[in-house]
């Protein structure tokens, strides 16, 4: 009998010689008929074969240990499929990179200079591409390329033009660098024509306005970027950008050494300075002035750098005014810390707290534990008047209760056990989860507060923002970022559009403090309907409108005018009670970078509107004019944006004849990250063999017992024979 075993089911030992014969190529129809017959035959003998196959396999396995495993254990350190040269050879990180960051902080404004050194140790001409995140409020406005002793200053151009200049320079063999915005807070540096054994240093500067929350400032520098889950094509927005980096394999040593040097000028007396993420050396120069240096470098470029400095408590309301005059225009930044209202709570019976937890695969490990303890803490602070609900999501989303319920003992117990038992697995589809959370209920008079806990590993941010914008209604969205490298661009903006706040929890022992502060925000009335009045002409105040301000947060306002105003007046409502504050502006400090801060805020608003307009695809003229406005503003302020890039080209050609190959630099994976960018392989094991062996074992046991029973019965008959009376 020909055992043309369908191979699928019965592996190697049943394949006959003739099957392996390559010459044998019958007509397809005949083949299919043959196969059908074979199948029928096979099904009849399936059980028998199954037993034989299992036994044979287990015997073989016993005799000859599988050698395959050893064969594959010498795996390469980087196994990214697209890390290849055109000739098909796999490439390791032949191009290496080190980064030096120096930061200058003055009050709420930070200016940083980042130096990326691209080193080419090979004998080939190389082109390096490196994609990296920057803080989401960062405005990149300067680029310099160092070739040996020479420094080439980068020029800002409309993106397509910049690309053309770069391509032309590449062809001409000139060393050149382009810095472009890849996706919202992710930038890409591309350096071409790096000669054999050569170093090229790319230096760029950015500026950001720092977060303040009582009692101090927090700085986060994203050293790694969370590989984002890429949704299937049907759910990608029109502006979706594919990720570029190759990631280092988990377990391999992080490379890409980083050094950080910070000059901190707080403007107010500093109480303490510390980093929750890295070891730092701090040098106290005065009460308000510190120098901070990262201790050791390469060791930990796999998690984001965090620094916090708390200010000494003061009874005075904290006010900071910065000013810059450029070409007949005056720019200003006003920061005001409102005095805390004492113990005024919101009406809890009219509040509904919706907690949303990300349980997708990217949350595996440390992140899910932090998220879990954050929500457990939130739940423990509910009282019986509160209404709440719990939503989980990965590539699906589901509610714990069909509708919000009272925080009774029993409901809380249910929620706790649901939280504790939830494992992280699957993709991250935030869209349906947000939709579910924002779904308005019949009880619309309630204040709905949504606490959304995630690492934000998404790449379709724009779609999500427009969803929040259209569905928000009277709900408020508070995002909580967990893990070592959450996508804070997404979470900050989601919270801003959702008129709530963004909280970042970086370590388990911070959960208590951070969530406590968040709950205080949730339970205290916000400062709403804020307006700023200034005595100046041609005024432009940002953000427009001013957002709600929660307990413990300052008000930030940026403005531009013909002449610097002398007086500012802030008005707003606290729990529907009007209140106001008047600030004299005469004592404003002169500060470089206020114009950049204003432009950055202006651009952010315009880009938000552009994204929104891009959704309503029929309104092309508005899109065009917005695009032009963004481009000209970015060009004027020398900023890298969605439509503008920086490019630096060396004048003298370096490469004349040789070919060039392009490398992606592997980025470090965030600490605790288990998944990877790209598609994961499916789970393809079944318990079939295990089931079969269990059955075999059970049969064997049954036989054993039966055999013992017989033996025992026979014994009993024997003893009966030997004279005892039967019972």
């Amino acid at each position: 009998m020909k055992l043309s075993s369908q191979g699928v089911l019965f592996a190697p030992i049943f394949i006959s010689e003739s099957d392996a014969d390559k010459e044998w190529l019958p007509d397809r129809r005949e083949l299919s008929l043959q196969r059908k017959r074979a199948r029928r035959r096979e099904w009849c003998t399936a059980i028998v074969l199954f037993v034989l196959w299992s036994l044979a396999d287990s015997v073989l396995a016993g005799v000859e240990p599988t050698s395959l495993e050893g064969q594959h254990s010498a795996a390469p350190a980087y196994r990214s499929l697209w890390l290849k040269t055109p000739d098909g050879n796999e490439v390791r990180d032949t191009l290496s990179l080190s980064t030096d960051i120096s930061m200058n902080i003055s009050g709420p404004i930070l200016r940083a200079t980042v130096k990326q050194r691209f080193r080419n140790p090979t004998t080939q001409w190389l082109e390096g591409v490196y994609s990296y995140p920057l803080p989401e409020q960062a405005a990149v406005d300067q680029l310099r390329m160092h070739v040996g002793e020479r420094v080439i200053e980068g020029q800002i151009h409309e993106h397509n033009k910049a690309q053309k200049i770069f391509d032309k320079a590449r062809k001409a063999g000139k060393r050149s660098t382009m810095l472009k915005l890849d996706r919202v807070n992710r930038f890409t540096t591309q350096v071409t024509n790096i000669g054999p054994g050569e170093d090229i240093v790319v230096e760029f500067s950015y500026q950001q306005v720092l977060d303040y929350r009582v009692p101090g400032y927090a700085l986060r520098f994203p050293i790694v970027s969370t590989p984002s889950y890429t949704p299937p094509p049907s759910q990608r927005g029109p502006n979706h950008v594919m990720p570029v980096n190759a990631y280092r394999q988990e377990g391999s040593l992080p490379g890409n050494p980083v050094s950080i040097d910070i000059n901190l000028n707080a403007g107010f007396p500093i109480e303490s300075v510390r980093s929750a993420s890295h070891r730092v050396k701090t040098d106290k120069l005065s009460d308000t002035h510190y120098r901070i240096v990262l201790d050791g470098s390469a060791a930990a470029s796999n998690k984001d750098f965090l620094l916090r400095w708390d200010l000494k408590p003061s009874s005075e309301p904290m006010v900071r005014i910065l000013r810059q005059d450029v070409q007949g225009e005056s720019y200003g930044l006003l920061m005001v810390m409102p005095q805390q209202s004492e113990n005024v709570g919101i009406d809890r019976s009219r509040r509904e707290l919706i907690m949303v937890q990300d349980v997708s695969g990217s949350m595996q490990g440390e992140s899910i534990r932090q998220a879990r303890s954050a929500l457990l803490q939130t739940i423990s602070q509910l009282n019986e008047n509160d209404f709440f609900n719990l939503i989980f999501f990965n590539n699906q989303s589901w509610k714990l209760f069909p509708d919000a319920v009272r925080a009774s003992q029993n409901n809380i117990r249910l929620a706790r056990s649901a939280l504790i038992n939830q494992q992280a697995d699957g993709g991250t589809e935030i869209f349906p989860a947000l939709e579910l959370a924002l779904q308005s209920t019949a009880k619309s008079e309630r204040l709905r507060q949504i606490v959304f806990v995630t690492d934000g590993a998404v790449s379709n941010e724009d779609n999500l923002f427009s969803l929040i914008r259209s569905k928000l209604g009277e709900s408020r969205l508070f995002t909580v970022g967990v893990g070592s490298a959450p996508n804070s661009y997404f979470m900050r903006n989601a919270a801003q559009i959702g008129r709530g706040t963004f909280t970042y929890v970086s370590r388990p022992n911070q959960v208590g403090r951070k969530i406590g502060a968040l709950m205080q925000s949730l339970n205290s009335p916000a400062l709403t309907d804020l307006t700023l009045t200034l005595d100046a002409q041609n005024l432009n105040v940002l953000p427009d409108p001013l957002p709600d301000v929660y307990a413990g947060e300052p008000i930030y306002a940026y403005f531009k005018a013909d002449r610097f105003p002398s007086q500012a007046e802030l008005r707003g409502n606290i729990a529907s009670v009007p209140s106001w504050l008047s600030v004299p502006l005469d004592e404003a400090e002169q500060f470089e970078g206020v114009a950049v801060a204003w432009a950055r805020e202006k651009l952010a608003g315009l880009l938000d509107r552009y994204r929104y307009e891009a959704k309503q695809s029929d309104n092309l003229p508005t899109q065009e004019s917005l695009r032009d406005e963004i481009t000209s503003l970015a060009l004027k302020h020398h900023q890298v944006s969605r439509f503008t890039s920086l490019v630096a080209v060396d004048v003298t050609p370096a490469r004349t004849e040789e070919a060039i190959s392009k490398r992606r630099l592997p980025a470090n994976l965030p600490k605790g990250w288990k998944g990877h960018e790209g598609i994961r392989l499916a789970k393809t094991a079944t318990p079939m063999v295990a089931d079969f062996f269990t059955a075999l074992g059970l049969f064997f046991l049954a036989a054993l017992v039966l055999w013992a029973l017989r033996l025992w019965a026979a014994q009993r008959v024997k003893t009966n024979d030997s004279g005892q009376l039967p019972c």
Binding site: G7, V8, S32, L68, T85, P86, V244, L681, A682, K683
Partner: protein
């Protein structure tokens, strides 16, 4: 009577052991049976797909549909491939991951299958073997380049390439990865995967 009750209990034990054994045999047979019967049912839906309509559900309550047919002549394998590679799909047939490159297009197409049933045959594939994938619009012949054992936790396949973006040297080939669990005879699931990497046969070689 003591002896009587002991005998009874032992008999009950034997009965429950046999019942348990039968239950496990059924469980194993169900996995095998489902995989085997489904292919026959899918054949019909696939033939329909070939005549024009797309997304033909093999039975009314199914939430998947056939997208391709995988043929390996040497090992006499012919399988219908479904859309998606989640657990409920893989129980019936190998599944094509829809986020990966379209079959036959530049990039890597990913098809997964159960190691105990459909994709048992992967371990017999050798370099140079030809895999034929028929879609509703084309027939692509792939040539096996190599096989590899990888860890699911640190191996990932790039999503369909966005040709507009500045993609780097990934080659201009249509590639195929077949993936299944490894080791083939393991009793419990592990994170190891056995993958087969194949490349589209060049059109110039087609006339051979």
């Amino acid at each position: 009577m003591l002896n009587g009750s002991v005998t009874f209990m032992l008999r009950a034990l034997v009965a429950s052991l046999i019942l348990g054994a039968l239950w496990h045999v059924l469980a194993a047979a169900q996995i095998y049976g489902k995989a085997w019967i489904a292919q026959t049912l899918l054949e019909k839906a696939w033939n329909q797909t070939l005549t024009g309509p797309s997304q033909v559900k093999p039975w009314p309550w199914a939430d998947f549909w056939p997208v391709a047919k995988l043929t390996m002549l040497r090992l006499d394998v012919e399988q219908i491939v479904l859309a998606g590679d989640s657990g409920n799909v893989l129980a019936f047939a190998p599944g094509y991951n829809e986020a990966s490159a379209k079959i036959g297009e530049i990039g890597i197409s990913l098809v997964g299958g159960h190691r105990d049933t459909h994709f048992r045959f992967l371990e017999d594939l050798v370099t140079g073997d030809e895999l034929i994938i028929q879609t509703s619009t084309a027939q692509i012949i792939y040539v096996v380049e190599r096989t590899e054992v990888v860890d699911e936790r640190d191996y990932f396949v790039p999503a369909a390439l966005d040709l507009n973006s500045d993609t780097l040297a990934s080659g201009n080939d249509a590639q195929l990865i077949l993936s299944t669990c490894y080791p083939f005879d393991a009793l419990v699931p592990s994170s190891s995967r056995f993958i087969v990497l194949a490349k589209q046969k060049r059109s110039t070689e087609k006339n051979d």
